[in-house]
């Protein structure tokens, strides 16, 4: 028993130092104003200010859109990958971009999307003229979805791979068409993967700031952008922490909503 307890120590230490302590510090910080006085004003301001409300709605709305677009692209991708003969190889290709630094990928897109970038050069070449691509909602969504896709594909792929093939045969055997089999067997059984994917994409999307700035041109101010501003520009750490706390609460809500609820079977 004592030996077993010893093994837990490094993990417990890790969690206390790098998970619990930062959370406590953020919470603590959020009760101080810019002059270091203990106050609830940060929360009062956050909850009453139209600016922060709009920012929150914006963040949630864009995170929702990014998640939706990512899911629509990733589910069929994961489904098809699963049917391919060398599926592990193709999965590796999908995951490969995550090995490249996020900032590098973002800069690469600036190169592609800018006025003199590859895409505009091509458009001019075929006679369609140059267009404003960078700093648009579309390009922001595109890049955000591009970056998040592997995180959505992976859990869905793993989940689909786990589904017992004889369940699918059983469905056909009982008279179901391919579509009925998908809707009534494959889709419900892949829900855990979909939920895990949504968690992996929605939560980070709430606090995006680099892509909103570099690709979105700060047209959309999200909570992530606001935190960055408060910590680095206005030096209002209290307010930044407050937004951080709000994000953490939002994350717990998402985890709870998409978490392992009681099984919901059938279509009744």
């Amino acid at each position: 028993m004592r030996q077993k307890a010893m093994f837990i120590v490094p993990y417990a230490l890790w969690i206390v130092l790098f998970v619990i302590a930062p959370l406590v510090l953020i919470l603590y910080q959020s009760f101080f104003n810019i002059n270091g006085q203990l106050t609830l004003n940060n929360y009062a301001e956050y909850l009453t200010s139209a600016v922060y409300l709009k920012m929150t709605l914006n963040s949630v709305w864009y995170a929702f859109l990014i998640t939706l677009v990512t899911l629509i692209i990733s589910y069929p991708t994961a489904y098809i990958l699963n049917k391919l003969p060398n599926k592990q190889f193709w999965l590796l290709l999908v995951i490969l971009p995550t090995w490249i630094n996020l900032l590098l990928k973002t800069y690469a897109f600036i190169g592609l999307f800018s006025r003199t970038g590859t895409i505009n050069e091509f458009l001019q070449f075929v006679g369609l003229g140059s267009h404003q691509l960078l700093f648009t909602d579309a390009s922001f969504m595109f890049v955000a979805a591009y970056i998040e896709i592997p995180f959505m594909v992976l859990p869905i792929f793993n989940n689909l791979a786990e589904i017992n093939p004889s369940l699918i045969n059983a469905s056909y055997d009982l008279g179901a068409t391919h579509w009925q089999t998908f809707r009534r067997i494959i889709w419900p059984l892949s829900m855990p993967g979909v939920k895990a994917g949504i968690q992996a994409v929605f939560i980070p999307s709430l606090s995006l700031f680099m892509i909103t700035r570099l690709i979105g041109g700060n047209r959309v101010i999200t909570l992530g952008t606001a935190i960055e501003e408060h910590f680095l520009t206005t030096q209002n750490w209290g307010m930044g922490s407050t937004i951080g706390v709000v994000l953490i609460i939002a994350m717990f809500i998402i985890m709870f909503v998409t978490g392992e609820g009681k099984r919901k079977g059938g279509q009744h």
Partner: protein, 369 residues
Amino acid sequence: MIGEKPMAKNVMEFQHVSKQYDDNVVLRDISFEIEAGKFYTLLGPSGSGKTTILRLIAGFDHASAGDIYFDGQRINDVPANRRQVNTVFQDYALFPHMNVAENVAFGLQIKGVKKAEIKQRVKEALHLVQLDGYDNREITAMSGGQRQRVAIARAIVNKPKVLLLDEALSALDHKLRVQMQTELRQLQRQLGITFIFVTHDQEEALAMSDQILIINDGKIQQSGTPVDIYDEPLNHFVADFIGESNIVPGIMKKDYVVSINGQDFDCVDAGMKPNEKVEVVIRPEDLDITTVEKGKLIGTVETQLFRGVDYQITVIDQRNHKWKINSIHKTKVGAKVGITFDPEDIHVMRYNETEEDFDARLDSYEEAD
């Protein structure tokens, strides 16, 4: 033969069906008929091709060559979901996100049966497999034996013409398996549905079936009633696979006389060429121990095991053949004993005889009698 219109009473017919995956030939030119309302067993060791036959019937796989008929219609290209066949899978394949009633109702819902009727039929099906009142149980809360019953209910609720059972009892413990054998047999009689049961367990096959097809090496080795197959195995494989056997080489001196170990014995087989080399099968329970003087064969007792109902004895004869004997008579290891048997206990098999040739030969000399 090819393209011959199948007989009406046959619910199912395979005509020269072959199946191969890449270079791996799984079924070699198989032909057989399945009569409506009977209990069939496809029996063979693993890798024999028996499960492939089942998958071809269910529509999960497609024949590389040959024709499969169902109710007189060629069904090679009919997809699985449009066949009047249901399957009980080896791992049951119950839908884990649905409860018992939802699983059983699935096939009926797909067919668009009215809700009231679905409810009634699910209730009846659960009653047939003795799971009354389990409607709302989760699958994960059911034991292996109960899941087996749900799987059967889910299949029979659709009233298929043919029910396929893929190694359906192999995951159950011995006692439950024996009980389910009896129940399955009863269920089959009660419903009048044709059952096609796949197993590698010869005892199971003998106990349950009207007809057994013995499959090995992608071919049907022999088909017939359990008694036919047990008493008159066609070849070495069948004799060895079904029950226990003593198989020794022999020479057919003339009709009704076979020579074993250079000694001539009366037998009940005929129709071979004079002095044809054959194999002789004698079941252990047909042999008995006696004194050296009375013995037709003489040997030394090598082992003796008490098994409750009888003794399992092995005797080595003078030509060094080992004989398995099940006897109620006790002997001693190392003792010199005689072995006795009756002419009808001897079964003579020709090398490479087909089922058709075997039947023809049997007819020829039985008519002559």
